[in-house]
């Protein structure tokens, strides 16, 4: 069976803590995602998502606090706007935007984190391998801005 590779960008205050709660509660879920901890989901540059796809990710998950709950006042709204715009770019690149998922998961929602991980893993599994990193149609996904 195809095991998708997923990169998860999680905000420290809500979704990362929710993922920790899933652990403390011993909730089993698909092991496909590797979490990268940000202070806030608003640290996420759409470019980071492109890098992930370029480097072989089949799916990218972004987790932040529920609207109104952002530790930094409104970082998650910034993320929401950026993601919505970026989805259009993704589609222009010919990428199925179902490979990108944004979810609000609070620190109390361990169960939801586990469910969403399972669900998203299955969603990406159904879409199949992206294989951008392998050179199959991946070359045109260049750096969106900065050279660094």
């Amino acid at each position: 069976m195809f095991e998708p590779k997923i990169v998860c960008f999680l905000c420290k205050w809500c979704t990362y803590a929710g993922a920790d709660l899933a652990g403390t509660s011993r909730l089993e879920y698909a092991p496909n995602g590797v979490n990268i901890r940000f202070m806030c989901s608003s640290r996420l540059d759409p470019e980071h998502i492109l890098w992930a796809f370029q480097r072989g990710a089949d799916g990218v998950f972004v987790g932040g606090c529920h609207p109104g709950d952002c530790h930094y006042q409104d970082g998650n709204y910034k993320t929401l706007r950026r993601m919505e715009l970026f989805r259009r770019v993704l589609k222009q690149f010919g990428l199925n935007d179902r490979r990108l998922r944004l979810e609000w998961v609070s620190a109390a929602e361990g169960k939801r984190f586990a469910e969403v991980m399972d669900e998203f893993t299955e969603q990406v599994r159904a879409l199949g391998p992206l294989q951008l990193g392998s050179g199959k149609g991946g070359q045109h996904v260049g750096s969106a801005k900065k050279s660094s």
Partner: protein, 650 residues
């Protein structure tokens, strides 16, 4: 290139049972940049920490990764250990291979592979981590306590007695909270008001406590040690500086309104004080019910006030205050009856909740302490108490146990029996939970010596039949249906977060759980702190609890505040944004992205600078910067790119 050491913890079997730690070590040892790797049973133990420290020295490590539990638990431990071994603490990172790996995956192969990727992505992070020094910031040694119930009062008194100023903010006109409404308290049967009012008076008169009643927190900014809060003092339409609380206005007011304090069973005027022992003991005008405000005529209160304290033109006032720490003690309400269809949706006048029964029992209540039912004032001879009304019912109502209802029902039944000797109390219960000092003994006294009939089972329906209430239930011990014709039904409703608390938590950016109660930083080990630095939790705002626990927690929260204030300066995380001055074009986009006004435009140089003390390190500005001039320290784009790569095993 940096020399990085990786230390993999077994955590007993917590990690080692699912993750093959030996294989992990073997793999990561080969990863570029890793100079040393080993595993150990309990890395957080003294020998474990020593092992890390010795390796730093022996292998000349300049970066450390401890692969263990969540960084929320031991990041501090290992950063301190690294620091003691001469390494900058920000050169140490935690790879979370327990909560986010071994505990959530069953397949050993997959979990091991994932653990390796987690560690390798952190190796990439550490490669680029800078040595940082925490920024020191001044501290305002003044606390704000939100909520003036017994929790807030206790916390305020404890902090104030340590010599620090406290603002005690309460939305009602008086402090006291729900405890002021109670008659006696279980299991000692102390009169609630008699033990509370001395504390209320002490808080009201304390030289270090400023009461801001009839006030609500509207806005907050800043961070631990340096908060700026805006508090709305609602217009009381009475000049409290002039008022002496003589009470003439409240007596002469012609309007009668249901008294919220008496659970709508008695009445109050449109100008009123909440209860006789209110602190401060000044009245407020309820604008929505005042004849002058609604109909434009009356002004009787103004006429009878010799001190000219009535001021119909008074406006809300917003005050701005600086505080260093905040205790949130916003308390609870009980589940509203109108949600309980099986008990008549709150429409049957003689189906009341436990709080209303407290008021019937109270000497200062609407009946002067005589138990008379609301509909016709008759003394009830048959009374049914229903425990778990809406509690432990995940499908329809509250999934949780409110902890106090078993005990307050036992107390109610006992007090009823002591006042109505020929009356018969029945208690329907699912279980009787009596966890607390002398609680079980009290329950035994009530159920065995006082003639109270306990029926194990639930009530399915309550309906009116003539002047009586028919209670249908089941006795699950005998398996028989039970029908009781009662004069009064008292529902032991559970606790919910107080009205409006959710909006306040949002304003304060405090996380709450799925039931709306405040989340603590750690359920076992940091129960009086919020994960948000500078916020402390007290009382039922955090979850259902009784008075002794509330008071203990309030003192705990206060001691945390005092410990914070005992420091001369605070340290601020140095994971802040920085600007590459050569790349910055001065476009100012970052200024609008910053929620903390931490960015300033330098007119002379034409670039934007970061005020590191104001920067909270969210990173939103980094993304907004079109030229790549802004980065976040120790979470640069370069680091993220390499972490992403490593997490994919590339």
């Amino acid at each position: 290139m940096k020399r990085i050491g990786v230390f993999v913890c077994h955590c007993g079997i917590n990690i080692a049972a699912t993750v093959d730690v030996e294989k992990v070590v073997e793999e990561v040892r080969r990863y570029p940049g890793v100079a040393h790797a080993e595993h150990y049973q309990y890395m957080c133990s003294d020998p474990g920490q020593k092992l890390v420290q010795e390796a730093i020295d022996k292998h000349k490590l300049d970066g450390v990764i401890v692969a263990a539990c969540s960084p929320t638990l031991h990041e501090v431990t290992f950063r301190r250990a690294s620091e003691n071994a001469g390494l900058n603490p920000y050169q140490c990172e935690i790879a979370n291979i327990r909560e986010q790996c071994s505990w959530v995956h069953a397949d050993r192969g997959a979990a091991t592979r994932k653990a390796i990727r987690i560690i390798e992505s952190l190796v990439e992070k550490v490669k680029y981590d800078e040595s940082l020094t925490p920024l020191s910031v001044p501290l305002t040694k003044r606390a704000m306590v939100v909520g003036g119930g017994v929790a807030g009062i206790q916390a305020a008194l404890d902090v104030a007695n340590s010599g620090y100023e406290v603002l005690l903010v309460e939305k009602q006109p008086s402090i006291g909270g729900h405890m002021a409404q109670l008659s006696e308290t279980f299991p000692t049967l102390d009169c609630s008001q008699c033990i509370l009012t001395p504390k209320m008076v002490e808080a009201g008169q304390h030289k270090n406590i400023r009461l801001l009643t009839y006030s609500e927190v509207e806005e907050i900014s800043g961070y631990v040690g340096n908060f700026t809060v805006k508090i709305r003092k609602k217009a009381a339409y009475v000049n409290w500086d002039a008022c002496t609380g003589c009470g003439v206005c409240t007596e002469k007011c012609p309007k009668k309104v249901d008294s919220e304090f008496n659970c709508n069973m008695g009445s109050r005027g449109a100008i009123y004080t909440m209860f006789p022992q209110a602190v401060p003991n000044y009245p407020v005008i309820d604008r929505d019910n005042c004849l002058y405000f609604t109909k434009g005529r009356c002004r009787i209160c103004e006429k009878v006030c010799d001190l000219k304290a009535i001021d119909y033109e008074q406006k809300d006032e917003v005050v701005e205050e600086q505080v260093g720490a905040i205790v949130v003690a916003t308390g609870y309400d009980t589940l509203p009856l109108d949600q309980l269809g099986e008990y008549g949706y709150g429409k049957l006048p003689d189906v009341i909740d436990g709080m209303a029964f407290e008021r019937l029992l109270s000497a200062s209540g609407p009946t002067g302490g005589e138990i008379r039912r609301p509909s016709d004032g008759k003394v009830p001879k048959e009374i049914v108490f229903v425990q778990c009304a809406g509690s432990r019912d995940p499908e329809k109502h509250l999934p949780y146990c409110s902890k106090i209802c078993c005990m307050y029902t036992a107390k109610h039944a006992l007090l009823y029996k002591h006042r109505v000797h020929d009356g018969q109390p029945y208690v329907f219960y699912i279980d009787v939970r009596t966890g607390g000092k002398s609680y079980e003994e009290f329950y035994h006294r009530v159920s065995e010596e006082e003639g109270v009939v306990y029926i194990r089972g639930k009530v399915s329906r309550v309906f009116q039949d003539g002047d009586q209430l028919i209670v249908w239930g089941v006795d699950t011990l005998t398996g028989k249906k039970v029908e009781i014709a009662a004069d009064l039904v008292v529902l032991a409703t559970g606790m919910i977060p107080s009205a409006g608390s959710q909006a306040l938590f949002s304003t304060l950016k405090l996380a709450s759980d799925e039931n709306g109660f405040l989340s603590e930083a750690h359920p076992k080990l940091r129960p009086v702190e919020s994960i948000q630095a500078g916020f402390y939790l007290a009382g039922a705002a955090q979850g259902p609890r009784d008075i002794p626990e509330t008071v203990a927690q309030a003192s705990g929260a206060a001691s945390k505040v005092i410990a914070l204030f005992s420091q001369e300066k605070l340290f601020h995380e140095p994971i802040v944004a920085c600007v590459d001055e050569d790349l910055c074009s001065g476009c100012k986009v970052c200024i609008s992205a910053c929620p903390y006004d931490a960015r300033e435009f330098d007119e002379k140089e034409g670039i934007v600078r970061v005020n590191e003390l104001l920067c909270e390190g969210c990173g939103a500005c980094v993304v907004s910067c079109p030229s790549g001039a802004t980065q976040q320290k120790n979470l640069t784009d370069e680091q993220i790119r390499e972490m992403v790569k490593a997490s994919l095993g590339e």
